[in-house]
């Protein structure tokens, strides 16, 4: 779907050129959700902007849906762009249009019939959780609300390809998850191909099947998410992976073990497991260095009789571990 | 040398052009004539009263009289008559003012000082009747009391544009000052259908100065030069009857 081949791009500056992309190649297949991660200034936004021809490469080619974007005249680009949605890092909303007006614009450009526009606009506003704010102007919105308008606008024309530049960076985790679920669903139902820049690993983990890691204008690592996550090769990737949160909190029949301070570093759970001989599954957990000392949390489930579990919990409590039953 | 500088305000045509001819002659007499061109009829007198200029040359006696009446603080005198510009009335459609049709349109220049002067020609030709007892210079279109042809007078057009108005046949009759007619290639003596008479014409353009200055040697020198044969010849040859030097007593 998106084929980037040996692309380089430099920006002229007073004290010499800044190389934003350096011999980058990337292939996004139809239906992929392709994550692009990397440090600030790595060239992610520049790479994304090549994919709809907003920027042209100095060298190399960019092909999207069989159109040679890197060499297409503006007229040809205009024809394919309504099918390539983009969410900008800085939103780029029209201040002169309301929430609804901004969303409508995309459809007006695509020549959607008026009646359809109205229905779709209302639907999109609901999807991004801005009900009741349809007539607000961007200046009356919070940062995250603006970003959601940008998301709705990019989805308006049911694009085949969606380019997201930090599409959820201004959103709280709950809203982020809703939006990501929405994207994943469109991807499943309609085969939407997504290229997605983010600096949040959990976004990659949650919906991407492929990921490319960028550093200094180069792709240092790329491949299936499970491969990269299981076996990170580069220092960048390893460093980025360290920030992943945990999914296990929604495991069924779970117990949450919380231990504070000194307790955190001792092998108390192991001791209890040995003593009771129970089949304990450890779903996940974390040790957090808080300002006032470490705080540990483990999520486990125990496949045993209630009285066995109760004894196990009593022992844990005696050792200074709080156990919450959720 | 600056003591010998004589600053004179003048209308552009023909006044300033005539003064330009006088300039080298005065220079020989050690007088530096500085010509300041004015496009209106108010500021030259304001400037004269304020001492910004020593003399002006743009108005005729009837106009000066009415200005003095309205501005008691002005104390000006006539230092000498110079020339007369008979106004001509032109038409591409008719041969004389009497031929003008019922409801005809006549275009005048936008100079209030000349409205009465032009209307007097129409009165002379018997086309309109004017209110009795109004000084010629104060006559306005509103002073027409008898207008059998029901002529319309349109008094708002810039004088320099009037030849264009004539060539474009915009009205039944157009008044054109002789100098502009000349510039546009018209013959100000032969072409008009009616001309102001040059004799007994009270509208001689004068050199105006503050009272008392008329005896200043440089002013007298100026008037003398303007009355000289050289200047009279220039006027006659250059303006071909459109501008006529005054008769010298």
């Amino acid at each position: 779907m998106i084929s980037i081949s040996h692309v380089s791009k430099a920006f002229a500056r007073r004290d010499g050129p800044v190389v934003a992309l350096d011999d980058v190649s990337l292939h996004v297949a139809q239906g992929d959700i392709y994550g692009i991660i990397g440090y600030s200034g790595a060239g992610k936004s520049t790479l994304l902007r090549l994919m709809n021809g907003l920027e042209h490469p100095d060298q190399g080619t960019v092909t999207v849906a069989d159109t040679l974007i890197s060499a297409a005249p503006e007229r040809a680009l205009r024809a394919v762009r309504p099918k390539i949605g983009i969410i900008f890092q800085h939103f780029n909303l029209l201040w002169s249009r309301t929430v609804a007006g901004n969303i409508r614009l995309a459809m007006q450009i695509a020549g959607t019939p008026r009646a359809q526009i109205e229905a779709r606009t209302a639907e999109l506003i609901r999807l991004v959780g801005l009900e009741g704010r349809a007539v607000a102007y961007p200046s009356q919105l919070s940062g995250g609300q603006k970003q959601r308008v940008g998301i709705a606008r990019a989805l308006a024309n049911n694009p085949d390809v969606l380019l997201c530049d930090e599409a959820t960076s201004a959103l709280d985790p709950e809203t982020t998850d809703q939006i990501l679920d929405l994207l994943a669903q469109i991807n499943r139902d309609f085969g939407l191909t997504i290229a997605l820049i983010t600096h949040e690993m959990h976004v990659v983990r949650r919906i991407c099947n492929h990921v490319a890691v960028m550093e200094n204008g180069r792709i240092v690592e790329a491949g299936a998410v499970s491969d990269i996550f299981a076996n990170p090769q580069s220092a960048v990737t390893r460093s980025l992976l360290r920030t992943l949160p945990d999914d296990s909190a929604d495991a069924p029949n779970r117990l949450v073990l919380v231990y504070r301070g000194a307790v955190a570093s001792e092998p108390l759970l192991a001791a209890a497991i040995q003593k009771h001989g129970l089949p304990v599954t450890i779903h996940g957990g974390r040790t957090n260095k808080l300002a006032d000392g470490p705080l540990g949390e483990l999520v486990i489930s125990v496949d045993a009789a209630p009285e066995q579990i109760a004894a196990f919990v009593t022992d844990l409590n005696a050792a200074g571990i709080e156990v919450h039953d959720v | 040398a600056s003591a010998d500088t004589l600053r004179i305000g003048a209308s552009p045509v023909p006044h300033a052009e005539i003064l330009e001819q006088a300039k080298p002659i005065l220079a020989e007499q050690g007088i530096d004539l500085e010509i300041i061109i004015f496009q209106d009829y108010i500021l030259p007198n304001t400037a004269l009263a304020g001492g910004d200029i020593d003399a002006n040359y743009f108005q005729h006696v009837p106009y000066l009289t009415s200005v003095l009446a309205e501005n008691p603080d002005f104390d000006f005198v006539n230092a000498g008559d110079v020339h007369i510009e008979p106004i001509g009335i032109y038409s591409r459609r008719f041969e004389s003012l009497q031929d003008l049709p019922e409801g005809g349109r006549v275009i005048l220049r936008d100079s209030v000082a000349e409205e009465g002067r032009i209307l007097s020609i129409f009165q002379r030709e018997g086309v309109v009747g004017l209110r009795e007892g109004v000084a010629p210079v104060d006559i306005r279109i509103s002073d027409i009391v008898d207008n059998p042809k029901n002529l319309t007078f349109l008094p708002d057009i810039e004088a320099a544009l009037l030849p264009q108005v004539y060539f474009n046949d915009e009205a039944d009759a157009v008044t054109i000052n002789a100098n502009y007619a000349l510039g546009a290639g018209l013959d100000p003596v032969a072409d008009p259908i009616a001309v102001e008479s040059a004799t007994d014409n009270p509208y001689a353009n004068i050199i105006t100065v503050r009272a008392g200055d008329e005896t200043r040697p440089d002013i007298q020198a100026l008037v003398e030069v303007l009355h000289s044969d050289a200047i009279r010849t220039f006027i006659n040859e250059n303006y071909k009857g459109a501008v006529i030097p005054v008769e010298l007593q």
Binding site: R81, W95, L105 | E158, V165, N168
Partner: protein
């Protein structure tokens, strides 16, 4: 009231002059707005670094616009006589003044339009292009609405300049308040006329300014 306060002012003539001024301002104003928008858009779009960047077209429009702005009004009037004669049928009166008024002020507004368009956020134009928007979309749906406050304020400035500009159209018998003030008031030393005509001009100017300011503030959603 008039007779007692300003006995030397003829109300009928003042009214006629007001109508003339309003007529010329309104008519030339609308034309100036349209022509100015078109020329301004062309100037903006063809200027270096913009969507249609084109040295030649930019150069030509720039020349035409600058010539029209630089030539003294009366000379412009004379130059336009053949055109005026053909289009309007006469070279005298309020209608004949319109071409010169429009040619004199439209280029001026065109420059203000160009400046206003240049203030529009590049990111927004980029977003529109990314949605597949072509020139008509960018112009009508983005540039104009996004720069509307500046366009309206610019139009206010232009219209007020136009009001005082109409005074010069008096030389071809177009009438109007400015000419009335000059001819009847100034030339004839009739202060009451100068005062009355200038007063009406001021009222018109303030009305324009007020409407312009209100509109600007109402549509500015930043």
């Amino acid at each position: 009231m008039f007779e007692t306060l300003l006995p030397r002012v003829d109300p009928a003539r003042l009214w006629q002059a007001t109508l003339d001024t309003l007529y010329m301002t309104a008519f030339a104003g609308v034309a100036t707005m349209l022509l100015g928008l078109i020329l301004g858009a062309l100037l903006f779009l063809t200027s270096p670094g913009q969507l249609w960047a084109n040295r030649v077209i930019y150069g030509v429009i720039s020349v035409v616009v600058n010539i029209a702005r630089a030539i003294p009004f009366i000379i412009l009037l004379v130059l336009l006589i053949p055109f005026t004669k053909t289009v309007v049928g006469t070279i005298l009166g309020t209608n004949a003044a319109l071409p010169a008024l429009i040619f004199g002020t439209a280029p001026f507004y065109a420059r203000l339009v160009e400046i206003a368009f240049r203030e529009v956020d590049r990111g927004v134009i980029e977003a529109t292009r990314a949605m597949g928007g072509g020139l008509p979309t960018i112009l009508l749906r983005v540039l104009i609405p996004e720069s509307a406050p500046a366009l309206i304020s610019g139009l206010t400035v232009t219209l007020i300049a136009l009001v005082s500009y109409t005074a010069m159209a008096g030389v071809i018998g177009a009438g109007g308040l400015g000419h009335y003030a000059y001819l009847e008031g100034f030339q004839r030393n009739n202060q009451q006329v100068t005062f009355a005509a200038t007063g009406v001009i001021l009222i018109i100017v303030f009305a324009i300014q007020l409407v312009g300011d209100r509109t600007t503030r109402r549509i500015d959603k930043r």
